[in-house]
Amino acid sequence: MSYSKPKVEVDVTHSFGDLVVLDQIKFDVHENELLCIVGPSGSGKTTLANIISGLLKPTSGSVKLGNEPVNPRKHNISYVFQARSCFPWRTVKDNIGIALELKGISGAEAEKRMSDVLQIVGLKGFEDYYPNQISGGMKQRVAIARAFCVDSDLLILDEPFGSLDAQTRYLMQSEVLKIWEKMKRTVIFVTNNIEEAVFLADRLVVFSNAPAKIIKEVNVEMPRPRILTHPDFLSIRSAVSRLSDIARDV
């Protein structure tokens, strides 16, 4: 399922009326890279995710995928939303399948992909359940399975685990890494949790408070699986924390 993915180039400024939310945000994402955007809540991260996915037009600047302005009809974007995004009238399987339907994939190919991805996210046996019959964590896994079952030029995850408890969150992070290692994708992972960002990312983009500016990009050169208590992990984590604190004081 690996194919060459276009480079992602982000260079945007966005404001809602007079309120500037994103101030000259500029960074690239390389093929198959897992990039984390980390910043305090209310710093415009979701707005940025919506702009990168092509759902929202930036006030100025652009997002380019392989030298073309991003367009969800043309590019293959997968997006895991911060808010619950299960269709309540669709079963688990059909909730995942909607991505395939929209990409025009059906029949045996669709069945195979759904079955693969159900296996990976651990929802085998729950295919025919409705969202109101499964837990919050499972719903989030449905959204992730949906994102991974289609070939995507870019996968965006916007605080996907924000509403989960610490333990489930850790479990899901490991699962996402496992899936990502198995089915390579270019990923932008948005989070307000520094530990989560350091645990997952190849590279971090640290955001300031609103209006969001990029404080720094940090490469995380640590082998996976990363140990949360390892001295290297802790030092990167505290470095990123300090960056964020400085931003808050400014």
């Binding site: 759902l55 009809r73 997006y79 995004s85 269709f87 009238w89 909607i98």
Partner: protein, 275 residues
């Protein structure tokens, strides 16, 4: 495997459930019996030959079924004629209500500019339209028009009101994965509002049956449950009138039960609440 809202399997009707059902049925029969007793007592006290009696109504049912009314139309013919008329007017209202409701809901500017006409029209009762219908229409179209008037607005309004409540995140899901506007309507808007469509349709169906007598007053044909009532009203034969009323009530009740079944099946994904 069937599941309840908590995700636990529902057992096939158990022994105790069957007993509850039996008890319910017994109580319902008891209520009917009690009603008949009170009715009979009332008849005894009233001393009037114009008051319909349970036995008189039962006799009227038999005679209307076997011999038909004084023009030879059997009870089934009357019921069937009304059923077809109600269904036609109601179906037209459903189709138009859904299409117009969707359109005006999705493009609020359409409703906003036309509401100065739509809203006043909504408050004109179907009965008030009868003279117009008599002048401008003939035959079957009169029935359909009057019933349509009653049924259209409950459906239209409930759809119009439900569209702003469609979850915008689900719209974004469809868009982000490359869906078109049509996909948004097909995969998000329409499934989201089907509960409201059905809720509106249930009310509309009730109103349709309420309009049938009015519609058949002007229909011109001598068949139909409303017509049956009117025919015997001229003769002051209250027993037969009650038969017509009863049948309208029963058919309306059964069609509503049917709708409830459809609802239960279509919306098994919904979490019901019980207090």
């Amino acid at each position: 495997m069937e599941l309840n809202s908590a995700g636990e399997p529902i057992a096939v009707k158990s022994h105790s459930q069957r007993r509850i059902l039996l008890e319910k049925t017994a109580y319902r029969f008891g209520v009917i019996l009690l009603f008949l007793i009170i009715w009979s007592l009332f008849v005894k006290l009233a001393h009037s030959s114009y008051i319909p009696t349970p036995i008189g109504v039962a006799k009227a049912i038999i005679s209307l079924t076997l011999n038909g009314d004084y023009e030879g139309y059997s009870l089934w013919k009357h019921a069937w004629a009304s059923f077809v008329r109600v269904l036609s007017g109601f179906s037209l209202a459903l189709v138009m209500g859904v299409i117009l409701g969707l359109f005006m809901g999705l493009f609020p500017i359409l409703y906003d500019t036309t509401k100065v006409i739509i809203e006043p029209v909504r408050f004109i009762p179907p009965l008030a339209w009868i003279p117009v219908a008599i002048v401008l229409m003939r035959g079957f179209s009169r029935y359909v028009f009057i019933i349509w008037l009653g049924a259209f607005f409950p459906i239209f309004i409930s759809i119009l009101a439900s569209i702003p409540r469609v979850d915008p995140v689900l719209k974004d899901v469809v868009k982000a994965y490359g869906g078109t506007r049509f996909d948004i309507i097909k995969k998000n808007v329409f499934p989201s509002i089907t509960p409201e469509i059905l809720a509106g349709a249930k009310i509309a169906l009730g109103v349709s049956w309420m309009c049938i007598v009015a519609a058949e007053m002007i229909g011109g044909e001598n068949v139909g449950l409303g017509r049956l009532i009117l025919k015997y009203a001229d003769l002051l034969r209250t027993n037969e009138i009650v038969v017509g009323m009863l049948l309208i009530g029963i058919i309306g009740y059964l069609s509503n039960e049917g709708m409830l079944r459809i609802e239960k099946y279509l919306f098994r994904w919904r979490t019901g609440i019980t207090l």
